[in-house]
């Protein structure tokens, strides 16, 4: 080291240094339906009347599932539940755009999309009852719910990579919320997918809140979609309360993904319900805001479109609601009928072959429970768990 000190040159103004600023980025929000449901005719998907009606039926199903699941939780017959109320267009529009072979990595609120993808309603209820067997996701290319926020995103990049290596015509599709975009896993996963040219769609349902944190405090960026640029992947911003816009956006994202260009889609929507049934949103947001978004109800908007287009006359709404209600009731019955499990369920499936020590722990515990019935004073198996 010398005795020299840091020179102090004059601090001149910008001298022409420009770079890129936040305000240089602007991304359109894609729409098909206006707030009143009036369509941009050129952008309407090429659906027949039945398909347009089917979309509505699925949106109703999503809303009914959320309503009834929340009520079930209130009656103590379901664990903590995370509703998608207000996000029906984002959930159903995206679900509709996928193919059966695609894999969905869920984040929790997308019941309708998972049911559409082949998951049974019974199993979805069993998951929220805390029954591990539900996560088999039998009959559907659905991954386990990413309860640890954002943890699934690198997995999506990896599964997409595998699909590409296989030359498979399928994509890995992630649902995530705005909160997940702050995690390291999100940034690493998107960057990785970009480099690997993985056929992935990262679908961010920006519902404006991560529990209590509003989007403007989640990130200093104006949008989620613009984050795509940093990873060399494509970004699309779409009105998340416009089911047809979401359908088109995810269809296009899927097409690009299959060409080796991962896409980050931001669906701008609103979480009208609490974060979960354990949350009280009155602590951190105004009723006015919630009511304002209620007036932008995605079902109402799409219903207006259907009515204007003349598709609604043939829809017996009461009959559809009744049908969806019955479907839910049947699923509750099926969940109730799920066989009561013994303690062995806790020890199974951790390893392909259970190691000797764990076999011993199980054997000793089973014997202990048999010898000490007073243990059951402390063990309450939750509803048909």
């Amino acid at each position: 080291m010398t005795d020299e000190t840091r020179p102090s040159p004059p601090r001149s103004p910008d001298a022409g240094v420009r770079g890129i600023r936040q305000e240089d980025v602007s991304i359109d929000t894609y729409r098909v339906l206006g707030p009143d449901g009036s369509p941009d005719i050129d952008r309407l998907p090429d659906f027949d009347a039945d398909t347009f009606r089917d979309v509505y039926r699925w949106m109703l199903l999503q809303r009914t599932f959320d309503d009834r699941a929340t009520k079930l939780q209130r009656r103590g017959r379901l664990g903590t539940y995370a509703s998608g109320q207000g996000q029906e267009a984002a959930i159903i529009g995206s679900g509709f755009a996928l193919a059966d072979d695609d894999w969905i990595f869920p984040y929790g609120r997308e019941a309708g999309a998972l049911l559409m993808h082949g998951l049974s309603m019974r199993d979805l209820l069993l998951y929220w009852r805390g029954v591990e067997d539900a996560s088999r996701m039998e009959g559907a290319n659905v991954f386990g719910l990413a309860i640890s926020i954002g943890s699934h995103i690198p997995l999506v990049a990896g599964m997409g990579w595998g699909m590409k290596l296989d030359d498979a015509e399928r994509v890995a599709f992630a649902n995530l919320g705005d909160g997940a975009t702050s995690t390291g896993a999100f940034h690493e996963g998107l960057n990785f997918a970009g480099v690997m040219e993985s056929p992935c769609v990262f679908f961010c349902q920006n519902n404006q809140y991560a529990i209590s944190l509003p989007f403007e405090k989640q990130t200093a960026a104006d949008t989620v979609a613009q984050k795509a640029l940093a990873y060399g992947v494509d970004g699309i911003r779409v009105d998340g309360n416009d089911v047809l816009a979401v359908y088109n956006a995810v269809t296009e994202a899927r097409r690009r993904a299959l060409e080796g260009r991962p896409v980050l889609v931001e669906a701008v929507t609103y979480r009208r319900a609490a974060h979960t049934t354990s949350d009280d949103p009155t602590r951190y947001r105004d009723d006015d805001e919630v009511e304002e978004w209620a007036r932008r109800d995605p079902l109402e908007r799409y219903r207006n479109f259907l009515a204007e287009a003349g598709y609604l006359e043939e829809v017996d709404e009461d009959a559809v609601r009744a049908e969806v209600d019955d479907q839910f009731s049947d699923a509750v019955d099926a969940a109730d009928a799920f066989e009561r499990r013994g303690v062995e369920a806790m020890f199974e499936y951790l390893h392909e072959e259970t190691p000797p020590e764990l076999r011993r722990q199980r054997r000793e515990y089973e014997q202990f429970l048999a010898d000490h019935p007073e243990m059951y004073d402390y063990i309450e198996q939750r509803p048909k768990g």
């Binding site: 805390g130 719910l145 640890s148 943890s151 997940a180 995690t183 944190l213 354990s278 000490h372």
Partner: protein, 324 residues
Amino acid sequence: MTMNATIIEAINDALHEELANDDRTLVFGEDVGQSGGVFRATDGLQEAFGEERVRDTPLSEIAIVGAAVGLATYGYRPVAEIQFSGFLPPAFDQLVTNASRIRWRTRGELTAPMTVRMPYGAGVRALEHHSESLEAAYSHVPGLKVVIPSTPHDAKGLLLSAIRDPDPVLFMEPKHVYRSFREEVPEGTYTEPLGEAAVRREGEDVTVVSWGAMMHKTLEAVDELDGVDCEVIDLRTISPLDRRTVVESVKKTGRCVVVHEAPKTGGFASELVATINDEALLYLEAPVERVTGFDVPVPLLAMEDYYIPHPPRIAAAIEETVDF
């Protein structure tokens, strides 16, 4: 003056105290500000001390813990909250790579006087990844203190010590007993020493060691046992471990049972058994028993009760040890 407080209220009070005592103290984490925390640990703090000092952060465990290291080395006293212990693993890197060794690698030039608070453990019917007890893993990181209170009085006094400690402290809160009982807690500021166990019951026949939520299962078991004079030790701090209190007690009783909620293999009981082996082997009249969770993930809510070491298991282990 005292207040009749639950653990969660005592934690809230400790944070309130230290924010008032030292304006370099900062509280931050997910949902800790406006909403007051998902368990209400930080209720009212932002209102009292403003958004600069009680701050909602993005959903970023890595940045929450990493930023705490940065703030601490710069001279602040960060108290970061991780919402559930199941969300700490991404930030484990910051604890291992930075927080725990900053003093060591800079030969004392920089230090990280920071506290990471988080609720841990099963029993509240939470979702997946909300119920883990990984204290043994954290105790394995040299330079990181691991504190686990079991009572409101200790929660407040230990948290104040943790915040004032010159080195990083992981403060694990037994959420299962956050609100399950009250006790008299002194108002104002007081500290309980880190690294010192508390003897909850004095006895001659057998030493029973536990901490956190399992302390209460242990006391329930002990209090219902007839004819066994148990000495019950609440470790309160896992790292550094108060070896002396445990060893002296075992020398007196000649028998020991350790109770924890975490899986058995590699659990902290193993360290206690090894310590007893090192320092009191020849005093033992029976093998040291462990009553623990199982070597499996904590089951989802439907079956989580099966996982937890309930009093009958603890009582049976104590009797077996005494009758050996």
